[in-house]
């Protein structure tokens, strides 16, 4: 059955066949997976690559003279090239393999320890995931620099006027997510980057939530650092990437010491390997890196334009259906947002709704979504968050709406 919403010929049923997990049941009901913003599901094409790696290529990379090691190294480096091409980085050595977004942020935050002084300021947005707050707080504790917050409004959008006022000669770093995981807001990062650069501040964009929906163009954005995780975009867990402009990556000291990241080691002095290996100490998640490349191939084959259009239709449909439920309030109503709906029902705890939905096989997230400051802003303990992917269907949204109605009936 072709789903022709918005007149795009997008065959969601055939896409769903790529995802074995979508066939399973939970609590005796067909799984409805709406926790995509936490982790996306993995298509057969990516799973096969992982199996193929361990079946045919498993060995350590970058050091062996034997064929297996050479083949594994080639596959891993090809994956780096795929990522480079995907984000349009100028050089492949600007792509650092990490264990995920959190690792990438910590790598940069730690690197800045020697570059900041007490009179410096760093700006964080009110919409950040804890991963993009805590490492910078720790940096400020180490250096004495001051952390300032770009505020949000009731719709869940950043207040850009205030941001402009916060920027000054003292501002050395700005870090903002491309898309908020708790609310789905798409932040105006082009503007944010341009304004930061005017005062000479570097910008890190947390792309954990954007990469499943948007193909970032790091050169066009002129962003200094861009980080993401493979597991949010149909890849495996425990692998991700940090893009950094070459000049910045040269300036930052290595994050971890170990094998792979050295040129020469004596007990007197060690010289470091060149980029990207300087930041890739130890044996990496080789299968994960290769599978990350396969995930990018997969998503590009589906097509980011098609994904965006289809998901937007899902979002519009779900928003209308959910808002028809009496007492339901949606948090995050930005004009620019992705397929995430954070909501609560009057007088009902989000956790109760999530528990009842789980009994019906519907996976949503409840709680503060690792973004406690946002919940504090709205003065709520948390929300129920349904986040959609291109393999979700209107029928699944109908199941969610029915589930929410039932939960409301049982819990009121």
């Amino acid at each position: 059955m072709n789903d022709t919403i918005n007149h795009i010929n997008f065959d969601v049923e055939s896409i769903r066949k790529d995802f074995p997990i979508l066939n399973r049941e939970v609590n005796g009901k067909p799984l409805v997976y709406f926790d995509n913003a936490a982790t996306s599901q993995t298509p057969r094409q990516v799973i096969d690559v992982i199996v193929d790696y361990y079946t045919n290529y498993n060995s350590n990379i970058h050091r062996g003279v034997h064929s297996l090691s050479q083949e594994a190294t080639d596959l891993y480096e090809q994956a780096r090239l795929k990522i480079q091409e995907h984000v349009n980085a100028k050089y492949n050595h600007e792509i650092i393999f990490t264990s995920g977004t959190t690792h990438g942020i910590n790598l940069v935050a730690t690197g800045f320890s020697s570059l900041l002084k007490p009179s410096d300021e760093v700006l964080v947005s009110a919409l950040e995931h804890h991963s993009n707050i805590v490492p910078w707080q720790m940096l400020c504790e180490r250096t004495g620099a001051l952390l300032k917050v770009i505020p949000m409004n009731e719709e869940g959008e950043l207040v850009i006027d205030t941001y402009e006022n916060l920027l000054s000669e003292q501002t050395k770093l700005v870090f903002v997510n491309h898309i908020s995981n708790a609310l789905g807001t798409i932040n105006p990062i082009e503007t944010i980057i341009k304004k930061a650069h005017k005062v000479g501040a570097a910008v890190l964009i947390d792309g954990a939530q954007s990469c499943p929906h948007i193909k970032p163009n790091v050169q066009e954005l002129d962003v200094d650092f861009y980080v993401t995780s493979a597991h949010k975009m149909c890849g495996p867990t425990g692998v991700g990437m940090l893009y950094g402009k070459e000049e910045w990556l040269r300036k930052l000291p290595p994050y971890q010491g170990g094998g792979e990241m050295i040129a020469e080691v004596t007990f007197e002095k060690t010289t470091y390997a060149d980029l990207p290996h300087k930041f890739e100490a130890g044996t990496p998640n080789i299968a994960g890196g290769i599978a990350f490349g396969a995930a990018i191939d997969y998503m590009n084959k589906v097509g980011f334009d098609v994904i965006a259009t289809y998901e937007h239709k899902l979002l519009e449909y779900a928003t209308a259906q959910l808002l028809a439920i009496d007492g339901l309030k949606i948090y995050g109503t930005a004009k620019e947002k992705t397929a995430v709906i954070s909501f609560n029902i009057e007088h009902i705890h989000p956790y109760d709704i999530g528990t009842i939905l789980d009994k019906m096989g519907i996976a949503v997230r409840t709680g503060h979504h690792c973004a406690q400051p946002i919940m504090d802003f709205y003065k709520i303990p948390g929300t129920v968050r349904a986040s959609f992917a291109f393999y979700n269907t209107k029928a699944e949204i109908d199941a969610l709406v029915q589930g929410v109605k039932k939960a409301k009936m049982m819990l009121s």
């Binding site: 609590n27 009902i348 705890h349 956790y351 109760d352 999530g354 528990t355 009842i356 789980d358 009994k359 409840t366 709680g367 303990p381 948390g382 049982m410 819990l411």
Partner: protein, 140 residues
């Protein structure tokens, strides 16, 4: 009634239900009947960690028996607390310490609750037992 007798009574009650909906509806209704904790105890000092919803528990001892009151901001959690309080409140500390909690499996709660919620349940029981241990040392 002894703790075991109360537990058996609860197992019988839950045995009447055919499906999760009835079981949960019963728990939700139990939650609504939970005698309220005195507001003065709904503070950080009385909160139990390990629950996504907030849980407050207060204990006091009268006539060598521990009396628990509790509350939560989530109704299903309140239902669970109501069951636990029915089992453990107004019992001797020693009996509370020695009680096993297999009945939770038998009424399908542990396996039917999400893992994080199950952890919350575990922390709740641990907290009730901690209070009992504290009161037991007073008696010794």
């Amino acid at each position: 009634m002894t703790i075991t007798e109360i537990q058996n009574e609860i197992i019988d009650e839950f045995g009447m239900f055919d499906d999760w909906e009835e079981r949960y509806q019963y728990m939700i209704d139990l939650g609504k009947t939970l005698p309220l904790i005195n507001e003065q105890y709904k503070t950080q000092d009385y909160i139990i960690k390990g629950c996504q919803s907030k849980v407050w528990v207060h204990a006091e001892m009268n006539d060598d028996k521990v009396k628990f009151t509790a509350d939560s901001d989530a109704i299903i959690t309140k239902g669970i607390i109501a069951i636990l309080i029915r089992v453990f409140s107004n019992q001797h500390p020693k009996d509370i310490i020695e009680a096993n909690t297999d009945f939770i499996d038998k009424i399908g709660l542990k396996e039917h609750l999400s893992p994080t919620r199950a952890n919350g349940l575990v922390s709740m029981i641990k907290q009730l037992k901690m209070y009992a241990i504290a009161y037991q040392t007073q008696l010794n």
